[in-house]
């Protein structure tokens, strides 16, 4: 099986390489001439109210092996409750746990804890220069100086900020107002634009209802998901251009960007039958065309999509099926698809609620 996957990857790469060099109009993205990534840390959020702490697994993408609980093995302690995100930056791996109010700075390879900081309801991280930025669900962004590994500033943004991303000289933070859902998320619906140099909010950009995920792309734009209200207002992806103009793109609930493509999943629930249908969308950022059969069928309970930045392999994490719908307290799995043709390259076990893959080289 491994050999087959390896062979398939080589063939896929070859195909991409040839097609790319021969035909610039071919929408298949170029394969960078570098080696496979070494692997990925899988961020397993755990299940807070079932008293299952977060954990980190390591997926070796070369030999396709998974090692469970690598953070625990390295440090003897768990990474916290509701493990929210991981980030590889410089020589470090950083992790935050929402319910535990904790931030860890670890060695990128060994995962040994080098610094533990108490933070306030951390939600997401981004990095630029010597800083790590953390959005706090209490309505702020905290800046950590990685040379001293200490908090060196905080700026207020909108209520319940979620993900944040760096584009150029600015940091963009989604303001979800997610805890105010009974009042229609009325104080959110925006992205705060923060100057990296002054660490001040310079602009608040109105976006769709309940923005959560946000990513910057190599085309200079920023893409985000406005999750809507899980009811009448559907989730959609929006684009923020370099001059801060916001455009609706498509209905979708999660996405990642890679090269000239945006890869998205749209989960739509039929409230008559209570069935949820998941559609995979591959969208060409240059032409604005999309295809919906690139990966088909999708498994039933996708959690997150992450594109491996070097190979472009598409990783989709999933819950296993439970008695009714997903099993939120059991181990899940991650599917790896070829960027070239959407073929399934492998399926690997994860921990409980695998919300993210953090690629490490």
């Amino acid at each position: 099986m491994k050999r087959f996957i390896f062979l398939a990857m080589i063939l896929a790469s070859l195909f991409n390489f040839i097609s790319c060099s021969n035909d610039n109009d071919n929408p298949t993205p170029p394969t960078p001439p570098v080696a496979q990534s070494r692997g990925a840390y899988i961020i397993n959020q755990g299940n807070y109210y079932s008293h299952i702490p977060g954990s980190i697994s390591y997926l070796n993408t070369v030999d396709s092996t998974v090692t469970d609980s690598v953070f625990l093995a390295a440090n003897g302690v768990q990474p916290g409750n509701t493990l929210q995100q991981g980030l590889v930056y410089g020589s470090h791996f950083y992790a935050i746990a929402y319910e535990s109010n904790v931030f860890f700075a670890c060695d990128k390879s060994s995962l040994h804890i080098q610094k533990e900081l108490q933070v306030d309801a951390p939600r997401a991280m981004a990095a630029a220069g010597k800083y790590i930025y953390i959005s706090n669900y209490s309505g702020t962004v905290t800046r950590i100086d990685t040379t001293t590994m200490s908090i060196d500033g905080t700026v207020s943004v909108g209520p319940n900020p979620e993900e944040l991303t760096v584009q150029g000289d600015y940091l963009y933070v989604t303001n979800s107002d997610g805890l105010n859902y009974t009042k229609g998320y009325e104080n959110g619906k925006s992205v705060s634009k923060i100057s990296l140099s002054s660490f001040q909010v310079v602009k608040t950009i109105p976006v769709g209802l309940n923005p959560t995920k946000i990513k910057s792309a190599s085309d200079g734009n920023i893409y985000l998901v406005a999750m809507g209200d899980y009811g009448a207002t559907p989730a959609k992806i929006q684009r923020i251009s370099p001059d801060d103009q916001v455009t609706d793109m498509m209905e979708a609930t999660m996405f990642d960007v890679h090269g000239n493509y945006l890869y998205a999943i749209n989960s739509v629930t039929d409230w008559k039958t209570y069935e949820t249908k998941n559609t995979f969308i591959k969208y060409d950022l240059r032409t604005g065309t999309s295809s919906e059969d690139f990966i088909f069928p999708l498994s039933g309970y996708p959690i997150a999509i992450n594109i491996e930045p070097v190979s472009g392999d598409i990783y989709i994490t999933n819950f296993n099926a439970g008695a009714y719908g997903a099993d939120y307290s059991g181990d899940g799995y991650v599917c790896r698809y070829s960027n070239a043709d959407g073929k399934l390259l492998g399926t690997y076990k994860t921990g409980v609620n695998a919300v993210q893959l953090v690629f490490v080289y």
Partner: protein, 698 residues
């Protein structure tokens, strides 16, 4: 994202207590679970106005529905052994003899019961009986049901054994002819009888108890009764409890352990009530009660790594007035009229900066108007009764629930009882009709049903010491307001949840010799089937919905043995033990990862053992409770198994008589071996704790 988190929370809570779920869960975020509190552990129990120790127990019926001077033929009492359905009962005296000083200890001494306990004064305590879920357990207070239409569950943690004169548990239908139709609708009923004197037992009585225990626990109870005339008596009861609850526990983080304390856990509760007993004539008896309860507590929350802080507070208030008029006529006829008005407020706050304004507020107000009339006729061998109940409930809140949801419930029951020779045969038909209304939106589906129940018992021996019994009961639980209306989760199209309850058993109860005046053995087996179970399920990654899709089958065996021995004058040994085996499994869909698996938090084996020795010097009692391992999730997910536990407790007490009054000094140790365990995953139970109490009876 947050909705998913809420849904997860809801789900975890659902597993813990299906009804409370919605309320807490959804409620956003920090759970209401933790809400109620009042764990009052008590050591003292009064003695002065209790029955004489050596005498056999009063009958269950008379204890649960205290009889008065009026002779009620329809209500002829049945003991635990004589009842056609499983009935268990603890008097305050028995609790004292067995060293029980806490409502959860008492409930743990009943067979077939699974108690949910979040630990400490401040943890909610609910009871599910025979695997049916706590929403199927009704609770009555001095004979009139308590209710909560929001969550469907009544927190038993608010009751202290200091105020309880009798605690009963009935499974199935007890066929008391004077039972209101509403009480007949529940699968199981916990009956709480409070300190009451009625017109018996002298002109006046004053009882004062104070206690002090571990972790800044202070409590006081005062009870007074005064007979104004041959026909009128008044009584009043007040109860206060403060506890810091900052008990230590061992936190395990990976391979490291540390000793921590519960924080944000203090609670203060009090309750007061006044009762009037009036017997205007030989054929009439009136009792009136006014009640107020207030409980303000901080919630320590689920144990979280790296973060000992929690900022949730809960304030519960409840006031009600209830009355009962019992009229008997021409020896055979009885008429009972009940009335009640109930008001309850639940105010929850999570004081964290993640919320706009720095706090999240969640308030619910519910009101209930209840009336019941029962007309009964009984002769020596047969009886018949008709009961009609009407209940009006409404609920409003500051949450995204229905603006103002209400329900009219109309219940009628016809009961037949026939007791030829050695047989007891009972049948009841309950007709229930539920009409819903919600301001400005679709209301929950209306429902109606005829529910039969049957029971039979046969005396194998002429002296009534050996009996066999069998029963069937059809149960119909309408959705709670949270299940029907809660934001996104609720579903107004839900049908009621149905249960078929079967049971059969054998009882032995007799006087053996002077040395062994009582030996009682009860063995019951049961089988229940839950259909259209009201279950909240994830519809997508982000949304949950409540549907009628669960099916649960349960089988179980309850066995208990109790004995009283009097080896010498002034010495008495009391033993009480019970064992429960339960197989409660999901049967919804073959092939899923919960199918045929034991439901979360229900142990396969559980039991208790208590023994007391009363003597002329210092009385002593030891008791132990235990349960086998349980799972914290229906899926039996890795890492959610809870180890079995056994907890040992003990009590020493002495009663001292002075001229005109008596005093009782009591010392209790809970969890003597300092065993650490969780009943609900992530909520550690307290370790070794002491409780000292002094009781004066004047």
């Amino acid at each position: 994202m947050n909705l998913l988190r809420l849904a997860e929370r809801r789900r975890a809570q659902d597993i813990i207590m299906p009804y409370r779920v919605y309320q807490m869960v959804l409620e956003a975020s920090k759970s209401k679970l933790l809400m109620h509190l009042c764990r009052l552990c008590f050591a003292m129990i009064l003695s002065a106005n209790l029955p004489i120790c050596a005498e056999p127990l009063d009958t269950i019926v008379s204890r649960i529905h205290p009889l008065s001077a009026v002779e009620v033929k329809a209500q002829q009492g049945k003991t635990e052994a004589e009842s056609t359905v499983p009935v268990q009962y603890l008097s305050d005296l028995q609790m004292k003899q067995l060293g029980i000083s806490d409502i959860s200890d008492a409930l743990n001494h009943f067979s077939g019961v699974t108690l949910r306990d979040y630990g400490g004064a401040g943890g909610i305590k609910t009871v599910s009986v025979r695997g049916m879920g706590a929403s199927h357990t009704a609770v009555s207070y001095d004979g009139i049901p308590l209710s909560d239409v929001q969550t469907g569950q009544v927190d038993l943690g608010r009751f202290s054994v200091r105020q309880i004169r009798s605690l009963g548990l009935r499974v199935g239908d007890n066929f008391n002819l004077l039972q209101p139709a509403r009480s007949a609708a529940a699968a199981a009923m916990v009956d709480i009888g409070t300190l009451q004197g009625g017109l018996a037992n002298g002109i006046g009585h004053l009882h004062i108890g104070i206690e002090q225990g571990s972790w800044d626990r202070y409590g006081a109870t005062i009870y007074g009764r005064h007979r104004l005339s041959q026909a009128v008596a008044l009584s009043a009861l007040g109860d206060y409890l403060y506890s810091g609850n900052g008990y230590p526990y061992t936190l395990r983080n990976g391979f490291k352990t540390s000793r921590e304390h519960r924080t944000n856990s203090r609670m203060l509760s009090y309750h007061g009530e006044a009762n009037l007993f009036w017997t205007p004539s030989e054929h009439n008896e009136v009792t009136l009660k006014a009640y107020y309860y207030d409980n303000n507590h901080h919630l320590p929350g689920i144990v979280t790594l790296y973060n000992p802080y929690n900022a949730e507070v809960q304030h519960e208030r409840n006031a009600f007035a209830q009355g009962r008029w019992l009229h008997t006529r021409m020896e055979h006829w009885s008429l009972q009229i009940l009335g009640k008005y109930n008001w309850a407020q639940s105010h929850y706050q999570d004081r964290r900066p993640i919320y706009t304004g720095g706090r999240y507020d969640q308030s619910y107000w519910q009101r209930e108007t209840y009336t019941s009339a029962v007309l009964a006729y009984s002769s020596d061998t047969w009886g018949v009764s008709w009961a009609s109940d009407y209940i009006y409930n409404n609920l409003n809140s500051n949450q995204a629930l229905a603006e103002d949801a209400s329900r009219h419930s109309i219940l009628n029951s016809l009961t037949l009882s026939y007791t030829p020779r050695r047989w007891q045969l009972n049948a009841r038909l309950l007709g229930a009709c539920y009409l819903n209304h919600a301001d400005g939106q679709v209301h929950a589906r209306n429902a109606h049903r005829l529910s039969p129940s049957l029971s039979a018992a046969y005396r194998i021996t002429a002296d009534n010491s050996l009996n066999i019994r069998i029963f069937y009961k059809d149960i119909y639980r309408v959705p709670t307001f949270t299940e029907a209306y809660y934001y996104h989760l609720g579903n107004t199209n839900l049908r009621p949840e149905r249960v078929h309850q079967f049971g059969a058993g054998m009882t032995f109860d007799r006087y053996i010799t002077k040395w062994l005046p009582e030996l009682k053995v009860l063995v019951d087996a049961y089988s229940n089937r839950v259909r259209d179970k009201i279950t909240s399920i994830p519809i997508s990654l982000y949304t949950w919905r409540t549907l009628n899709i669960g099916r649960v089958n349960s089988q179980g065996l309850d066995a208990s043995l109790s004995a009283i021995a009097q080896p010498a004058a002034g010495h008495r040994l009391t033993l009480s033990t019970h064992y429960t085996w339960q197989r409660v499994v999901d049967r919804t869909a073959r092939g899923t990862n919960v199918y045929d698996r034991q439901l979360a938090y229900i142990p396969r084996h559980s039991g208790s053992l208590s023994a007391g020795w009363e003597n002329p010097w210092v009385n002593i009692a030891l008791n132990t409770i235990g349960a086998s391992s349980r799972w914290g999730t229906h899926e039996h997910s890795h890492g959610t198994k809870l180890k079995g536990y056994m907890e040992l407790g003990g009590a020493l007490w002495r009663e001292i008589h002075f001229s005109g009054f008596s005093a009782e000094v009591r010392a209790v140790i809970h969890n003597m071996l300092d065993k650490q365990y969780d009943i609900v995953n992530g909520y550690p139970m307290p370790g070794r704790a002491y409780l000292l109490s002094l009781t004066l009876n004047l």
